[in-house]
Amino acid sequence: MAEKVFMIALSPTMEEGAILKWRKKVGDAVKMDDILCDVETDKASMEYVSSQEGVILAIVKEVGASAKVGDTIAVIGEAGEDPTPLIAESAPSTPKAAPAPSTASTATPATAPASTPSTSIADTATSGRTKSSPLARRIAAEKGLNVAEIPGSGPGGRVVKADVEGYTPATTVKSSVPASSPLNNDRIPVSRKRGTIAKRLSESLFTAPHFFLTLGIEMDGLLTAREKLNEKRKDKLGLNAFLIKFLAEALKRHQALNASWEGDYIQNHASVDIAIAVAQPDGLITPVVRDCGSKGVLQIETELRDLIDRARNNQLKPDDYSGATFTISNLGSFGIEEFTAIINPPGAAILALGATVKTPVVADDDSIVIKKIMKVTLSCDHRVIDGAVGAAFLTEFKGMVEDPYRVLL
């Protein structure tokens, strides 16, 4: 029966130790009182003397790895036994949930596969390259599988045909073989897009003095109105289109918010060009709906859809995403209640939209009512916008959303 080899307290105070050197390797026979490995403790380097007998089936903690007293450092047993169940037991659970937003894009900078789970752990620890047979690769490609994710059973842990044919992504998660981390130490080259994002946003945050204004907007009125409008429509209107329309109307009434800092002058903009931040697999982009002030919700919606579609498919032209006078960023769909955004130059302000949350509100008659509240935070470039100006604009916007008739005024 295979059994785990635990880290033991090699000194009275030892809680944790690092493996300095393995004196035995996988396949080696271990007798009672054999020195298994050298361990660096809190005090000194100590020899780990085995109290178990058998053949080393797997080394769980490689040289340099640290193990708490009680952690499994190796698996010992009879030759030919499969150590993987015990390794899996001793591995910290590795959540497989991929945090990456939706689709993997071809534009993603190529990164080495994180790790190749393999029945032979030593092999994977050393090589970043996935060993696989050409036939295995061809079958994997046909099945749309990534060979790097398939445990290899061939010589030296090579992925062979049988591994690919016997592989279902679900089972690997279950048997999440060795304790390989879902993280890696890769250096990812900075793409041009990433570089641009980094440069523009740091420039913005470090040169434009930001200040932030937050308030909650009652969304009940707008949501009901939208619902009514959508009842008779096949293509439903999105909330963003309405918000952009209201912002445009508010901006028309507050020139200072539709302007840019140009160093020795402030540039006012006659056209209200509102951008919306769209997440992409390899960054984010801000497509612009031009001249929102003279467009209706319907037209804004149409243009917005087209822009977002193209943004997600990396098909935007520079004209589509540059020169916004105002930007919105909406993280409400992620459940974010409120946040602050960095101004997207040449605009002088950006509005961060949170999630719409049912909230108890104290009404005028001191009764408590449940309202759907969306928190919005306006980031302003203080060089262009003063606090009161920003506040007036934001209140105007709030009023319009809560009471759409105000737009008529």
Partner: protein, 467 residues
């Protein structure tokens, strides 16, 4: 494990046993081999090695017309077959000495005598007990006798008997057109013996692919060998002048006469008189039943080679021996268990050493068809190969069976000059799961017969050049 005299005792010093012994010794085990006859077994003494020596002599003889063609005056009349026989014995002698040297070099103790298994850790050799932590049975096989056609080794011969002949018969009847039958048909017909081959199945070399078998058949017929396929041998009468065999073909009976009869209808495992039944080692139709790593139903007893149900071939025995002792070594704390638990039948090459040769592995087309396997086949003929053409060996082909979707190699069959040597590139590809395109795009030296392997692989991909 001091309680036993040896870590491993191997019963049988043939290609299975002696290779296992060397491997075990390499892994640090204390090994003994028990051999009742000569080291090297049938392979070294009465099989592969002496027969290849004989075939080589036959090939020299076969080359006389080519020499005459050069204007060299060769008088073939003085052929003394006893000299060819002598050559084959010398080869066997050399082989035996080679194995002896290997035993000595690897400190393997050789115990002469006949062993019986008397316990899970014990063999008795001529009354003396030999104990070991593990026992490996490698006792090999012997020619199969058919009732009514028992060997007398004078006129009714087994492969051993025919290798012992010192004079050529005028005529030879061969029962069985497998590798052994065909090799002796080649040797004997080349030396001028009138050869008739009787095969029960509808075609010769039944385990081989029909296309490669046809190449050999054509060459043999040209040489004057007679084939009677789908023919059953019924009775045998021996007399002072030779044999009379009554055969039946398509309902018609016929009597064939010849000076000698070679019965080459397969081999049977040497599993009796070993003490297996007493110990309770499980058998199935004479073969020892084995689990992974060739372990028998008794955990300390392993069995390899011709006595287990895998192809009865020397190279199979050797590999099985390696697997078994590597596993035993791992059980004793020496090294890792072998990666392969058992041989994959699709990766075992077969070779028939006549001229032209045949070599193959994996699926043959007729069996694939019968099984309903999804496959495609491509054959590249030797006459498209520069080297084959230059040395006047245009008869032959390289055939690859492959998966229509993935192009995985399912089987390969080579017939022709050097077939047994050039097969291995395809076999390596199969084993490593390389694809035909990997061979197709690899530069092969020119001019070589191996280029036809490359061309066959290109043919699979649809772009063979020299055709």
């Amino acid at each position: 494990m001091a309680e036993y005299a040896y870590d491993v005792v191997i019963i049988g010093g043939g290609p299975g046993g002696y290779v296992a012994a060397v491997r075990a010794s390499q892994l640090g085990l204390k090994v003994a081999v028990v051999e009742k006859d000569k080291l090297g077994g049938v392979c070294g003494n009465w099989g592969c090695i002496p027969s290849k020596a004989l075939i080589n002599q036959a090939e020299y003889f076969h080359a006389i017309p080519a020499l005459q063609n050069l204007g060299i005056k060769v008088d073939a009349s003085g052929l003394d077959y006893a000299k060819a026989y002598q050559k084959s014995r010398e080869a066997a002698e050399r082989s035996g000495k080679g194995v002896q040297f290997l035993m000595k070099k690897n400190k393997v103790e050789v115990i002469s005598g006949t062993a019986t298994l008397t316990g899970p850790h014990e063999a008795t050799v001529d009354g003396k007990k030999v104990t070991a932590a593990y026992v490996v049975l490698a006792t090999g096989s012997r020619p199969r006798q058919i009732p009514g056609f028992e060997f007398d080794e004078k006129t009714v011969l087994s492969s051993t008997g025919i290798l012992s002949l010192q004079n050529l018969p005028k005529s030879l009847l061969i029962l069985g057109s497998g590798a052994i039958g065909m090799e002796f048909a080649f040797v004997m017909s080349t030396f001028g013996v009138e050869v008739t081959v009787v095969e029960m199945l509808p075609r010769i070399l039944p385990v081989e692919d029909p296309d490669t078998a046809a190449v050999v058949e054509k060459a043999f017929v040209k040489r004057g060998v007679k084939f009677l396929t789908a023919t059953k041998a019924l009775t045998l009468k021996t007399s002072a002048t030779g044999v009379e065999v009554e055969v039946e073909r398509a309902g018609k009976k016929e009597t064939l006469k010849a000076e000698k009869l070679l019965v080459a209808v397969g081999r049977v495992p040497n599993t009796d008189n070993l003490g297996l039944d007493k110990l309770g080692v499980a058998l199935d139709r004479g073969f020892v039943t084995v689990k992974d790593f060739y372990q028998t139903s008794i955990p300390s007893v392993f069995a390899i080679g011709d006595i287990v149900p895998s192809p009865l071939l020397a190279h199979v025995a050797s590999k099985e021996g390696e697997i078994a002792v590597e596993y035993i070594a791992s059980l004793m704390g020496k090294g890792k268990a072998p990666h392969e638990k058992k041989l994959d039948a699709n990766l075992i090459p077969g070779a028939t050493y006549c001229e032209p040769q045949i070599a193959s592995f994996g699926w043959a087309e007729d069996k694939a068809k019968e099984k309903g396997l999804a496959y495609k086949a491509y054959s590249f003929p030797y006459n498209g190969n520069g080297k084959a053409s230059a040395i006047e060996r245009p008869d032959g082909l390289v055939k690859v069976l492959f998966d229509p979707k993935t192009h995985e190699i399912l089987g390969a069959h080579v017939a022709g000059y050097n077939a047994t040597e050039i097969l291995h590139e395809l076999l390596l590809a199969k084993k490593a799961e390389l694809l035909p395109e990997d061979i197709a795009t690899m530069v092969h030296a020119h001019p070589t017969i191996s280029e036809s392997v490359m061309e066959a692989a290109r043919g699979v991909e649809g772009w063979a050049i020299h055709i």
